[in-house]
């Protein structure tokens, strides 16, 4: 049998089977995988930046990330990067949804370690959205399974199915799970909080996930 698919993702290079869940490598997913792994390495080797906050009529204060906060945020950022990298390769809708759930949790972890009121507030509301959106995400995958009888993207790509509303539900789930994460990072003024490279992982993972979701939804 052949595992070849014709899609917008470019040339098909090969596959990595884990039972029914088959990871596959195309031009698109290989490039995204390398980008995600590269930025994970950047996060691992970079020291967090310090910030000098100048104040009117007072002494300037130096904001820095303490070692224990650095450790948990770096761990979460690295987990987020690895999950993003493998979400680029996965060939199964349910598996992809689980990777998204894990990325959502790690995003909350990156944000929640900052002990500042407005940051924790934003992390809380982001957590609410991530919890709400598990329903459309897994529900969309379940409806696709019910209608087509399979979850594998490689199998779904072989036949044309009419999956418009299931895809809308799935996309809404993706938007809630990781798509709104940069909004909350920006709202929380995380750029003003110290610790530069970790917060960028949220944006990078969200960007790559949105592109990969578009590719999946156009393929199946």
């Amino acid at each position: 049998m052949s595992l070849n698919i014709t899609s917008i993702a470019g040339k098909f290079y090969g596959y990595i089977p884990f039972g029914d869940i088959v990871l596959y490598v195309t031009e698109f997913s290989a490039i995204s995988f390398i980008v995600a792994i590269f930025f994970t390495l950047v996060v691992y080797f970079t020291k967090p930046e310090k910030q000098l906050e100048s104040q009117i009529g007072g002494f300037d204060t130096l904001n820095y990330v303490s070692l224990e906060e650095l450790k948990i945020r770096r761990l979460m950022a690295i987990l987020c990067g690895i999950c993003t990298a493998f979400a680029m390769l996965t060939g199964d809708l349910f598996n992809y949804a689980l990777f998204l759930a894990l990325i959502g949790i790690t995003n909350i972890g990156i944000v929640a370690a900052v002990k500042k009121e407005w940051v924790l507030n934003a992390a809380y509301y982001y957590g609410l959205i991530a919890m709400i959106s598990t329903l459309p995400l897994f529900g969309g995958a379940a409806l696709i399974l019910a209608k087509t009888g399979t979850l594998s993207i490689l199998e779904l790509a072989k036949k044309p199915y009419d999956l418009l509303f299931q895809k809308i539900l799935y996309a809404a789930g993706v938007v809630g799970e990781t798509g709104v994460a940069p909004f909350y990072a920006a709202k929380a003024e995380m750029f003003r909080a110290p610790g530069a490279p970790y917060i960028l992982m949220i944006h990078l993972s969200s960007l790559l996930i949105v592109i990969r979701t578009a590719e999946i939804l156009l393929t199946i």
């Binding site: 029914d20 949790i105 002990k115 509301y125 509303f165």
Partner: protein, 155 residues
């Protein structure tokens, strides 16, 4: 209506979950009325509800076969990647064997999951899913325990 006030309204973090939930409600109400079909040729078939009750002690999860001896007939997407398909279905740990001899409702007790029955679908054909599920749980415990241990540190 000043559009600037609208932008300011939706820019507050506590408003976004409400807007998202409303958006989701609209999508799901529309979707409820869209006709859809059910494919009978399912990848992971389930027995009809209640069809195994009081016949087997593994009631909802009895997929047939004898563990490590005779393989059960398991339907999978890519049989060529699963050479040991059907062999570990319903493999029981020694305490689970003891309980399953005592009661016919073993499959629905808390003992049967996660360690009691090694389910073929969960642990072999879709093993990566199970790894990710437990990893999600572990990561959320990590975040919680870090926040709990550092609860005294306030800025």
């Amino acid at each position: 209506m000043d559009i600037g006030r609208l932008w300011n309204y939706i820019s507050r973090p506590e408003i976004v979950p409400r807007l998202f939930a409303l958006f989701l409600c609209i999508i799901m109400i529309v979707e409820f009325f869209v006709p859809t079909t059910y494919n009978e040729d399912q990848l992971y078939p389930k027995y009809p509800p209640q069809s195994q009750v009081l016949k087997s002690s593994l009631a909802p999860y009895d997929r047939g076969g004898e563990p490590l001896k005779t393989p059960a007939d398991i339907k999978t997407q890519y049989p060529q990647f699963e050479p040991l398909r059907g062999r570990i279905t319903a493999y029981l740990t020694p305490p689970a064997i003891w309980i399953s001899h005592k009661t016919l409702y073993f499959g629905t007790t808390i003992v049967s999951t996660p360690g009691g029955i090694l389910d073929e679908i969960l642990y072999y054909t879709r093993g990566l899913d199970t790894i990710l599920e437990s990893l999600t749980l572990l990561v959320s415990f990590m975040i919680f325990s870090w926040l709990y241990l550092h609860r005294e540190r306030v800025e």
